[in-house]
Symmetry: C2
Subunit: 139 residues, 2 copies
């Protein structure tokens, strides 16, 4: 299993505070003949009249250290390699990238990357690691 | 500018042997407000009756060292971040990933990753770094 991201435990607590039950830590998935792991699996009952459970997978990225563009490229590639496997295994489960709010503010301040995220339909959960709360869901 | 890949000079010579004129080394492209570089730009006259020049960009990956899956994810992310910028700037120019034949044989022996490459329409140039020749174009 890969090393835990710096904000792994933060995001886990943030999801729990938001009413999610953590069901996988990590979530295992086969990628062809290889083994893959996504940081967290979680579920909660839909709010309102809708029945059933909402299920998500969350891959956490701290985006600390090296160039934010390099890190975004790596995260995008990973997300796009994993998503087809998730869609095949559990089509009702949605894959998210969890990103810190500082990265969201600095990186997606540039329209080019907003368009890239839209083009590849990258869903994101923006979190505040200090306040330990969700800032926004980008669906 | 980023460090040159281990096989940079190999791929440059391989393209020249194949009749390509190297026009950029590296090719500069803006990604929003950021600067991006793609390893090589090249062109040659179309073979046969077709008029004009065929233009390509080649991003070289040696896939040496760490996990091939991690490296493929990184290369995929980079390719997919750069391609929309290339399509906007020079729609007639095609972006390729250059990959060594050992990587092609070992990694794409798994159908899951063949499907991933097709899903995202990743074009690849497979090269033999010892014989210094093109093995195949995956278009």
């Amino acid at each position: 299993m890969p090393a835990k991201d710096k904000y792994h435990d933060h995001v886990r607590r943030i999801l729990e505070k938001d009413g999610w039950a953590i069901t996988h830590d990590p979530y295992f998935i086969k990628l062809g003949r290889r083994k893959g792991y996504i940081d967290l699996g979680a579920e909660r009952s839909f709010i309102g009249a809708e029945k059933g459970k909402e299920k998500i997978l969350v891959e956490i990225k701290s985006f600390l250290g090296m160039s934010d563009l390099d890190q975004f490229e790596d995260a995008l590639g990973q997300f796009l390699v994993y998503r087809p496997a998730v869609m095949k295994k559990e089509p009702e489960r949605t894959l998210y990238l969890a990103i810190p709010k500082e990265f969201d503010q600095s990186f997606f301040d540039d329209d080019y990357f907003v368009e890239i995220a839209e083009l590849y339909e990258v869903k994101m959960l923006v979190f505040d690691e200090d306040k330990e709360e969700i800032v926004s869901w980008k669906k």
